[in-house]
């Protein structure tokens, strides 16, 4: 299905076209993992909204990506509970092991890393999302073996 058609499927949920903008941005982002100029234009066209409006909304939210991302997106929480249980060491490890900096992408395009604000798993800290997979209770050994599963 073309993304325009998929976006139109959301229109009935909202009283006006603009209501469907957040879901539309998710749809547009799904294929490439980020919102390119073409993706934003496709949303603008599907919802008949000005391009500036679409970009203005997209840039407000942390989960709409403004740059190309690696094949797999690691979202690691370093908020208070995760910090107490060693999330900072995990950030260092990703740097040492994969050359991956917060906000960056590995040279081979395999991973991008984003530091997220509270993943809501403080009872199983530290935790991360890899794409949409949730991984709690991380240790240095565990994070390495988990990431081996993502090519």
């Amino acid at each position: 299905m073309k993304i325009q058609e998929e976006i139109k499927g959301y229109l009935e949920r909202y009283p006006d076209r603009r209501g469907a903008l957040l879901p539309a941005l998710y749809i547009a982002q799904r294929k490439a993992g980020w919102l390119s100029q073409e993706a934003l234009e496709a949303v603008s066209e599907a919802l008949d909204l000005p391009k500036a409006t679409v970009r203005g909304v997209a840039t407000f939210y942390a989960m709409y990506r403004q740059r190309p991302m690696g094949r797999h997106l690691i979202q690691l929480c370093t908020n208070v509970a995760c910090m107490i249980f060693g999330a900072e060491r995990l950030v260092d490890l990703l740097k040492e092991r994969y050359g991956l900096e917060p906000g960056g992408t590995t040279d081979d395009g395999r991973f991008s890393l984003v530091i997220m604000e509270c993943i809501g798993a403080c009872d199983r800290a530290p935790a991360m999302l890899v794409d949409t997979d949730f991984h709690p209770g991380l240790t240095e050994e565990k994070i390495e073996s988990i990431l081996e599963g993502y090519e």
């Binding site: 949920r13 909202y14 009283p15 006006d16 603009r18 209501g19 469907a20 903008l21 957040l22 879901p23 941005l25 998710y26 203005g56 909304v57 407000f60 939210y61 942390a62 989960m63 709409y64 979202q75 370093t78 908020n79 208070v80 509970a81 910090m83 107490i84 997220m116 604000e117 509270c118 993943i119 809501g120 798993a121 403080c122 009872d123 199983r124 800290a125 999302l129 949409t132 949730f134």
Partner: protein, 429 residues
């Protein structure tokens, strides 16, 4: 022998049956009595449901503790239609993960609560505003909504009557501010999530300018139970000033972190030591944040405090979301305060200058203290900036950020001063 507390005998309402491997399926939910309250509720006139919720004394579980029945009454009395019902599932307050078990393990309880609430409000359109950080909950909720449509609990002519209600998940995209109800409404309308000035309140001018009720997940999950047992009976659970079962998410330095369903008013000490198993590794308690990162920190001598909306202010804090963050002596308070401020700086929406600039300044000063570069006079500077932010913003984010700093430097000033004078941490060296 282990002491048995009255609270342990209470049957679970919100987390009922969530240990069952099939807890998310409609058949399993119905097997344990689910969707019975809806049949009773649809036979009641809307006003009677609102009256029951009023007499139950239920107060909103999102943090502010506003009386739910009163909120519904305001929206119900507004002559404008359509009315919208929005479930706030944007659980983003650090330390908070109490709604997660409902969203991921008991989705039909939330749906049943929403359909009953919608009937009471005569709303035909609802949304669950779900945070983007919970992708698994989205899958569970969408499946449950589909099941509820098939079973006739959602859609047109619910249970063959005149009432119809449509529900869908609206996924947030990583903005903490959207937990604030007016920012949430902006976000549902497809806009940047920046708060609106109040009044007008959403109950009169909400989504698309229409009367809108925004209720927290846990609040809505209480509704079927209130309909089942009646408001009077419900009002006798826990503290009479703010009754009912309450979810507490307990984390950081405790033996058994997790979500606990206990009567409102359960003492903080009992939550930490009896339910969560005490301090991890037998350490010494240093500080507790009782209601999520935005609520002022408490010192150990205050843990006798009953955990409810009316008691915590007397101890200088707030119930907030009921997210209990426990710190032992090995945790550096300067570092916790710095990390909290990094969060507020990141999440400030940028609309109000005191919050946008102030959170950045506070983070900057805390960061130099934390890294051993603090200046003499930094504590006064923190106090001065925080005091200048409080009360000068559209929404409570700025107040929360200011209050966090003020509470930390009031009760743990020694630690902050040590960082400045000795250029290193008092705890970790």
């Amino acid at each position: 022998m282990k002491t048995v507390h009255a609270t342990e005998l209470m049957e679970k309402v919100l987390l009922k049956n969530i240990e069952s491997p099939n807890s998310t399926h409609i058949e399993e939910y119905r097997r344990v009595g689910g969707y019975r309250a809806i049949e009773k509720a649809l036979r009641m006139p809307p006003q009677q449901i609102i009256a029951e919720v009023k007499s139950s004394g239920l107060r909103g579980r999102g943090g502010a503790g506003f009386p739910t029945g009163m909120k519904w009454d305001f929206a119900s009395r507004d002559p404008k239609f359509p009315k919208f019902l929005i479930c706030n599932a944007d659980e983003g307050e650090p330390g908070t993960f109490k709604d997660r078990p409902i969203l991921e393990r008991n989705p039909h309880l939330l749906i049943e609560g929403m359909v009953i609430s919608a009937h009471a409000l005569r709303s035909e359109r609802g949304y669950i505003y779900l945070r983007g950080e919970y992708p698994y909950a989205k899958v569970v909720l969408e499946k449950a909504i589909e099941e509820a449509y098939e079973a006739g609990f959602l859609g047109e002519r619910i249970l063959g009557g005149d009432f119809g209600f449509h529900l869908s998940v609206h996924q947030g995209a990583g903005a903490y501010i959207c937990g604030e109800e007016t920012a949430l409404i902006e976000s549902i309308e497809g806009k940047r999530g920046q708060p609106r000035i109040k009044p007008p309140f959403p109950v009169n001018v909400g989504a698309w300018g229409m009367p809108t009720v925004v209720n927290n997940v846990e609040t809505l999950a209480n509704i079927p139970f209130i309909v089942e047992i009646g408001g009077e009976e419900y009002s006798r659970i826990g503290n009479p000033d703010c009754p009912g079962p309450k979810l507490f998410s307990v984390s950081c330095c405790v033996e058994r972190p997790g979500v606990y369903e206990l009567p409102m008013g359960t003492p903080l000490k009992e939550i930490i030591y009896d339910h969560a198993g005490g301090i991890k590794g037998g350490g010494r308690l240093k500080a507790v944040i009782p209601g999520g990162i935005s609520t002022p920190v408490l010192t150990p001598e205050k843990i006798d405090c009953p955990m409810d909306f009316v008691s915590l202010p007397k101890y200088g804090s707030m119930l907030g979301s009921g997210a209990v963050m426990v710190f032992d002596e090995r945790v550096c308070m300067v570092k916790v305060c710095w990390r909290a401020m990094r969060f507020f700086e990141h999440e400030s929406c940028g609309k109000c200058t005191p919050c946008r600039e102030g959170t950045g300044w506070l983070r900057n000063i805390l960061e130099r203290m934390e890294t051993g570069n603090g200046w003499k006079g930094d504590l006064e500077l923190l106090r001065d900036i925080a005091s200048s932010m409080a009360g000068k913003t559209f929404c409570p984010l700025g107040d929360g950020a200011a209050g966090v700093v003020l509470a930390f430097i009031k009760d743990f000033s020694e630690e902050f001063e040590y960082h400045i004078e000795n250029k290193r941490c008092m705890v970790t060296g």
